[in-house]
């Protein structure tokens, strides 16, 4: 079974984010970069399926040369090879990313694409669904549990939905997006890290794909949320309820 896993380079969720003074973006000096949390879960899930059924795990990133760091981390976890679609740093919106990934899928012909439900930087939650649309493939988003049946060419996915869990079945090939509780990703072991040095990473220039990438979405400005105001201390529950009533924070 061949599984394609798109991964994004994002800020380490533990780092303190500061904006550039003009609000045009995030100040990336002193910031550590990692594989997007949800994508790391996707890599883990793909590796588990490979361990179960054999096959190949290919990771793909659409970004700049620095993103090879994260591709290498995925290879060190156990993925077999990597593809970087080099954008030269140009801004590409979610529609563009989905179109690029669709092209890579057409070339690689995986049985399954497993990817993060969203990236923790812009929280867009778009690319998986758009990709399924462009490819006209079935999709199962927000996966909580994934069971592949390669012989029947089917996958059963338990999804996290507002009311609880929902189970769906898709024909392969399909797109799956991961939720937080799907698994606990492994870390790269030292032997894995050394092996990753020998694994191939192919770079493709985005221009060579011949896709119209004119953005449909433009980022106007970034702002930090207003600082939290100081709270008040209350003596007991009665005073607490009274305070909530005063602030009209209770539904009754």
């Amino acid at each position: 079974m061949k599984i394609l896993v798109p991964i994004k380079r994002t800020y380490d969720p533990n780092s303190k984010i500061k904006l550039k003074t003009d609000g045009s973006g995030i100040d990336t000096s002193n910031i550590k970069f990692v594989i997007n949390t949800f994508d790391e879960i996707a890599v883990e899930e793909a590796l588990r399926k490979k361990e179960e059924f054999g096959g190949e795990v290919v990771v793909v990133s659409v970004g700049t040369q620095e993103w090879i760091e994260q591709i290498r981390t995925a290879l060190a976890m156990g993925a077999d090879r990597g593809i970087l679609v080099d954008t030269g740093g140009k801004y590409i919106d979610q529609v563009g990313i989905a179109k690029i990934l669709a092209k890579i899928v057409e070339e690689e012909k995986p049985d399954l694409v497993i990817m993060g439900k969203q990236a923790i930087d812009d929280d867009a939650n778009q690319v998986g669904q758009l990709l399924a649309g462009y490819l006209n493939w079935p999709q199962a988003t927000f996966a909580y549990k994934v069971e592949v049946k390669p012989n029947e060419k089917k996958v059963t996915v338990v999804r996290e939905v507002d009311g609880g869990l929902e189970t769906v079945e898709c024909e392969l090939p399909a797109i799956i997006t991961t939720d937080l509780r799907l698994n606990q990703p492994r870390y790269a072991s030292l032997p894995g890290i050394m092996k990753a040095k020998q694994k191939p990473v192919k770079t493709i220039k985005v221009e060579d794909l011949g896709i119209d990438l004119t953005p449909k979405v433009k980022i106007e400005k970034l702002e930090t949320p207003p600082p939290r105001k100081a709270g008040v201390k209350v003596k007991d529950v009665d005073e607490f309820i009274a305070k909530l009533k005063e602030l009209k924070a209770l539904p009754f």
Binding site: R72, T73, Y187, S189, L190, P191, I193, M194, A196
Partner: protein, 395 residues
């Protein structure tokens, strides 16, 4: 000159961070264990699984050869969260002696299992009458019918209860006979890998403090049989085996101290930003609190560089004298740094600095130990004066 880590070292560091995160939710429980001097097997297992015990072991013997720097950054990273691991350091130290001096046979016998974390190793140098002066040790190994028979006593041996083997420094020619035979003092030492479950070994637990999570023991050896193949390096040439092998202990101890200093600093800063004593200003706004912390930060960066440089020197096989000088410097500076960092954290915390749950008062013992062991700071000055500066030997 390039101060950036190679990508694989950067990744190793990330892996160490992830190991720590795995334990974060259980830190109270783990600290409790460490305080009771219980060995935390799970931390060992994670380090082994991630391959950190094989970092200096070459690929053909089951390691990765990523280098000592890989383990040094791991030690530093874990120490940032208050997790030290003395047996990890000692086992890597024993590996180092085997890798740099051992026969093909002993390499095959021990390295793969050690790299996998299946063998924990203690280090047996000190004796009641020979600490700083190793040449005066009396533990004796006599060759008989293709085996060695060991008799003697070692003391202050860390982790002898949890270790599987001990890398033991013995005499194969008695000290008293050297001068009669016109041989130098450094001659006649031999090192062995000794199974701690061997017949004839007795242990006595000491009431020592200084290494979190571990106890020290006096070990008595009475006619303990060791197979000939467990001799590490050449017979009587043990001093060179130690010379090459013991540097990682100092380097990793240094790395751990740098990490622990960060543990102290981070907590002290957090506390100083919150604690108000006079009025509404936090104590962190007083120069009396903030300057000493800033001073620790500056020194920490300098010590870190020496630690990394010494690991780099070891990995790149620089001349032994140079590696020794750097490793000694790392240990010497790290001991001073950690003691200062713990002191300032305690001072910042006021009375709370003495509450065991805050861990500083426990670290105080460890920090203080580093001035005395594995090699005392006086001895480092002696060696530096003699071998690096070319001054007359003072001891």
């Amino acid at each position: 000159m390039n101060f950036a880590f190679q990508p694989e070292i950067e990744m190793a560091k990330e892996t160490a961070e992830k190991i720590h995160k795995k334990f974060e939710g259980r830190r109270k429980e783990l600290f409790e264990k460490i305080r009771r001097n219980e060995f935390v097997q799970e931390i060992w297992d994670e380090l082994a699984k991630a391959g950190f015990l094989g970092s200096i072991v070459p690929h053909e013997y089951g390691g990765t050869g990523i280098g000592l720097l890989g383990s040094a950054v791991a030690m530093e990273e874990l120490a940032k969260y208050g997790i030290g691991n003395a047996l990890f350091v000692l086992t890597i130290c024993a590996e180092s002696c085997i890798i740099r001096n051992g026969s093909e046979q002993i390499k095959r016998k021990f390295l793969p299992a050690m790299a996998e974390g299946k063998i924990k190793c203690a280090l047996g140098v000190t004796e009641p009458e020979a600490g700083t002066n190793t040449f005066r040790i009396k533990t004796f190994a006599e060759k008989k019918n293709g085996r060695y028979i060991i008799n003697g006593e070692k003391t202050y041996i860390t982790g002898a209860d949890v270790a599987d083997y001990i890398l033991l420094v013995t005499r194969t020619i008695p000290y008293s006979e050297l001068s009669k035979k016109g041989l130098p003092k450094m001659y006649g030492l031999s090192l062995f890998m000794v199974d701690l479950k061997s017949k004839g070994i007795k242990m006595h637990k000491l009431n020592t403090r200084g290494i979190e999570g571990m106890n020290q023991f006096t070990i008595f050896f009475e006619d303990v049989e060791v197979p000939e193949e467990n001799l590490v390096g050449e017979e009587n040439q043990g001093v060179f085996v130690m010379f090459n092998g013991l540097n990682p202990e100092r380097i990793l101890a240094g790395a751990s101290a740098v990490g622990l200093s960060e543990f102290c600093l981070k907590r002290a800063v957090e506390y100083a930003n919150q604690r108000c004593v006079f009025g509404e200003r936090p104590i962190g706004s007083y120069q009396a609190i903030q300057h000493p912390l800033a001073d620790v930060k500056i020194r920490q960066e300098a010590v870190r560089l020496v630690v990394y440089k010494s690991a780099w020197a070891y990995d790149n096989n620089l001349p032994p004298q140079e590696v020794m000088f750097l490793a000694n410097s790392a240990k010497y500076l790290a001991a001073e740094l950690l003691l200062q960092a713990v002191d300032r954290a305690i001072q910042t915390y006021g009375g709370a600095g003495f509450v065991e749950d805050n861990f500083f008062i426990i670290l105080w013992d460890s920090a203080r130990l580093l001035k005395t062991a594995p090699i005392s700071n006086e001895m480092i000055l002696n060696l530096t004066a003699e071998h690096v500066l070319g001054l007359p030997r003072s001891y």
